[in-house]
């Protein structure tokens, strides 16, 4: 469909990177529409594809005063006999030429909407190897183009790790992450997924279908090439609490659903014992500044000194009490004050019911060591770990434990044969800024693990999918190593931060106006950022949820 003509002027020439075209009066265009124009140089005929970046409307009035005068000096009821000369014009960025011609487009060249196949060619998504559906593109001329990531660049080995950012409640970060993980589960059979539920009960019924989906919403799944179905092979792990009414879980998952999960053997509880998990106590100090390494020194003592062998959590607390007595002189390098600080911090956490003397044999309680279960993860499995109702320090502890377990599994520290272990393990965590904040203590073990994963994980098959409200709050090396970035709705303060410096202004401005379900994605093999939509969640949603 013809929509306009290229316009080159003295002050505004066309270039090999961008051009302006005026738009015919009755045509509607949008930013991110893909257009094409012939680029004929001599006998070489080619097509240049471009993406619309900005749209303007210009008139021949030299100023606002002129417009005011033209309305009878400010008469709102004035109706002119002749409409002022005006034209809409758009700035477009060149994406691709099908014969590698870099010459600028000539003035007067006809501009048209690109068709579906042409859009795919222009975006470089026509020949995607190992495609994983990413959503779909809706363009002005009623064309919907499914978009796919290249899995080599999404989950390795060429590139890996994804980060999703945007305002809570508006940016649909979790919904998109689940869509992506569902796409991976449907297209790959050698991938395992670990999901942390950090808020409410959002992700605690992933195996159940969404009863609120309309036919139209179900059809959107087919646009992406995926089946509209919930996750399969799901296992749930809940923090233990001595609450029989609630299946001994410290969770906000609905009782009925919880009961079903336990009855179907899909759910377990997890707990930490001193002898199994004492070596992970450093994870409780991930967010504690320790410039003089006193906490680290104490932890070393705890791990290595025989005083701290063969205890349980209660006797551990008592042992610590001995070290906090004035004049105890047990370790001349660590002061009593430091021990007291350590004790205070530890006690705050280990009073939580997940810290147990030992795992109960009561089958109703279904106690498990989380790290041991992680190390048994199978291909195609989805493991959901609920940490929503744990306090922040313990959330970090559990997350760190999971990371270490995955590392140990993938780095060959278990007895499992190599081909039994999932080729890739994807870990999804929300609120990444809690664990990898830009001002996190340098010696934070969780940060260390995350850096290990983001910097070296792709070759080992450990992939991080993360989400947070504000990308600017996340550690540079963690977000910098992501090959896929997804942006949901955000605010003007956020887009003024340096993270967004190299994103064209049209896209950053668009980020402040995105609707729910609209995202801007940046992926290594795409030639440009894309604004996409994705289907409604296929897993259980409660009424009132978007």
């Amino acid at each position: 469909m013809k929509i306009g003509k290229v316009s080159a002027t003295e002050k505004s020439p066309t270039t090999n990177d961008e051009f302006i075209f005026w738009v015919e009066d009755n045509v509607e265009i949008k930013p991110f529409d893909i257009i094409k124009a012939e680029n004929n140089i001599g006998s070489k005929k080619s097509i240049t594809y471009a993406i619309i970046q900005d749209i303007f409307y210009i008139t021949d009035s030299p100023g606002h005063i002129g417009n005011y005068v033209s309305s009878d000096f400010g008469d709102l009821n004035s109706t002119p006999s002749t409409k002022r000369l005006g034209v809409a014009y758009a700035q477009a960025i060149v994406l691709h030429n099908n014969k590698d011609v870099y010459m600028p487009l000539r003035d007067g060249t006809l501009v048209e909407f690109a068709g579906e196949d042409e859009i795919k060619e222009a975006l470089g998504v026509d020949k995607i190897k190992n495609p994983i559906p990413a959503g779909f593109l809706d363009v002005s001329n009623n064309i919907t183009v499914p978009i796919c990531f290249n899995s080599d660049f999404l989950i390795g080995p060429e590139g890996a790790h994804s980060n999703i950012s945007g305002i809570s409640g508006l940016a649909t970060k979790t919904s998109y992450a689940m869509f992506l993980l569902q796409a991976i589960q449907q297209t790959k059979n050698d991938v395992a997924i670990i999901i942390l539920n950090v808020k409410g009960n959002d992700l605690l019924r992933l195996d159940e279908p969404n009863p609120l989906l309309t036919e139209e919403q179900k059809n959107e799944w087919s646009k992406t090439g995926l089946e509209c179905k919930p996750f399969s092979n799901v296992k749930y792990f809940y923090p233990y609490k001595n609450d029989k009414e609630n299946c001994f879980c410290n969770t906000s998952c609905e009782k009925d659903a919880l009961n079903n999960q336990f009855q179907s053997n899909m759910a377990q509880t997890y707990a930490y014992t001193y002898d199994h998990d004492k070596n992970n106590l450093d994870l409780l100090f991930s967010n504690i500044d320790d410039p003089n390494f006193t906490m680290e020194s104490i932890l070393n003592v705890v791990i290595e000194h025989s005083d701290f062998d063969d205890l349980d959590w209660d006797s551990f607390k008592n042992k610590l009490g001995e070290y906090t007595k004035k004049g105890q002189g047990k370790d001349k390098e660590i002061t009593v004050q430091s021990w007291r600080k350590f004790t205070r911090l530890i006690k705050k956490s280990i009073t939580n019911p997940i810290f147990q003397k030992s795992l109960s044999t009561d089958s109703n309680k279904r106690h498990r060591h989380l790290s041991d279960e992680i190390k048994k993860i199978q291909k195609g499995e989805v493991v959901v770990i609920d940490i929503a109702k744990l306090e922040e320090q313990i959330q970090g502890f559990v997350f760190g434990d999971i990371l270490q377990a995955v590392n140990n599994l993938k780095f060959g520290e278990t007895d499992r044969p190599e081909d039994d272990i999932p080729k890739k393990i994807i870990i999804f965590v929300d609120e990444l800024n809690k664990y990898a904040a830009d001002n996190a203590p340098k010696n934070s073990p969780i940060l260390r693990n995350l850096l290990e994963i983001t910097e070296r994980g792709r070759s080992e098959g450990i992939i991080l999918f993360s989400a947070e409200q504000f990308k600017s709050a996340v550690h540079d090396r963690v977000k910098g190593n992501c090959s896929t970035h997804v942006y949901g709705r955000t605010n003007a303060i956020e887009i003024s931060k340096p993270d967004y410096r190299y994103i064209p202004k049209t896209f950053t401005n668009m980020m402040t106006r995105l609707d729910t379900g609209e995202l801007i994605i940046q992926h290594s093999i795409f030639k440009t950022l894309l604004k996409i939509k994705f289907p409604y969640p296929s897993y259980y949603q409660r009424k009132g949820e978007k």
């Binding site: 009066d25 021949d60 009035s61 030299p62 100023g63 005063i65 002129g66 417009n67 005068v69 033209s70 309305s71 009878d72 000096f73 004035s78 109706t79 002119p80 006999s81 002749t82 409409k83 002022r84 000369l85």
Partner: protein
């Protein structure tokens, strides 16, 4: 020097390279109504014989005008040549005439005519002139050759004579456009044509072309006499007193005696289209409107006052939007005519390109 001027050298005419430049900024046009003389016989409309100032009230929101005609030209000094014992300029010009029509409230091009012209001093022999003309017009079919009259005892400069001739050619083209439209029955009483400027063409072949046509002038000579009761008083003493929406009675141009310039009977009146407090100068916002009397009744009795009022109210409706900020004549400039002018000017070649054709 280009191929075109080489034709002159081949004919043995000596010419000299001179600085080439656009002449338009050097010479001011005279008023189109310069030297105009009105009849002393009184008012030229049927119901306002007392010659009162009339307040025009638009009765509808629809203007009678649908077509707008304008002509534009750019002139250039190209070289100097020795012709007929004189050193005279060779002047070139780009001429454009166009009509825009309004559909709904948007203006579109209806028709445009263009000419690129080379003016030579008329003292060349007829054979030489014919030869040069043929050769140049064959070399570049987009160039037309014409000649201008000049005598050294004239007070006027030869460039001005060449420009005046170019201007005449432009008027001829305007008439041609109008003739075509008339033959196609395009113009109607409620789809009239407004011409930018005076209707005082010297070469009107048939006044019936002008039945549904008026001329609207932005500038005019304020010192014309014979229009007011006191015959020696200039019209310019009355016009500043016009209020917004007021018009003068219709006056008739002199057709008799040695001052007769046109064969047509023309009536003219003035209308204020901008309130006085919205313009800088006393005559800003006043337009002079001309209409040619076509029927015998009109020629005898003058125009119907009702028709004049309708035309005036339509012109009032045309006052918005304005070209304020783009044209210093904005207060008296009708926007569709401004657009027609812009359409024609955009069809011209750039000065640099045009100057180097020759």
């Amino acid at each position: 020097m280009g191929k075109i001027l080489e034709v002159l050298r081949e004919k043995g005419i000596t010419y000299y390279q001179s600085e080439r430049y656009n002449l338009d900024s050097f010479y001011f046009d005279n008023y189109q109504d310069e030297g105009e003389l009105f009849e002393k016989t009184g008012i030229f409309e049927d119901e306002n014989k007392q010659g009162k100032i009339i307040k025009v009230e638009p009765k509808t929101n629809t203007s009678l005008f649908k077509y707008f005609l304008d002509g534009s030209r750019r002139t250039y000094r190209i070289a100097e040549a020795e012709i007929g014992d004189k050193l005279v300029p060779i002047v070139a010009g780009q001429i454009g005439c166009g009509v825009c029509r309004r559909l709904g409230n948007k203006v579109k091009t209806h028709q445009i005519k263009r000419k690129n012209i080379l003016m030579l001093y008329s003292r060349l022999s007829d054979d030489d002139y014919k030869d040069i003309k043929n050769k140049i017009e064959q070399t570049d079919s987009a160039i037309t050759v014409d000649k201008y009259q000049y005598s050294s005892n004239m007070e006027i400069r030869p460039e001005n004579k060449a420009i005046a001739r170019i201007q005449d050619i432009m008027y001829d083209m305007e008439i041609d456009l109008l003739e075509e439209m008339t033959k196609q029955n395009i113009l109607k009483p409620d789809e009239m044509l407004a011409i930018d400027g005076s209707l005082q063409f010297s070469n009107i072949r048939d006044e019936r072309y002008f039945y549904n046509v008026v001329g609207i002038s932005k500038t005019f000579n304020p010192n014309l006499k014979n229009m007011l009761k006191s015959k020696n008083k200039s019209i310019g003493t009355l016009l500043p007193k016009l209020e917004y929406g007021q018009r003068t009675p219709v006056f008739k141009y002199n057709q008799t005696g040695e001052n007769q310039r046109f064969r047509q009977t023309i009536g003219a009146w003035y209308l204020r289209i901008r309130p006085r407090n919205q313009v800088k100068n006393p005559l800003d916002g006043i337009v002079k409107i001309e209409k040619i009397a076509v029927t015998d009744k009109e020629k005898e009795d003058g125009f119907e006052t009702g028709l004049i009022d309708n035309i005036s109210s339509s012109i009032l409706l045309e006052r918005n939007v304005t070209c304020y900020g783009n044209d210093s004549r904005w207060a008296s400039h009708i926007y569709p005519i401004y657009l027609t002018e812009a359409m024609i000017k955009n069809s011209f070649l750039s000065d640099i390109y045009f100057l180097n054709i020759f």
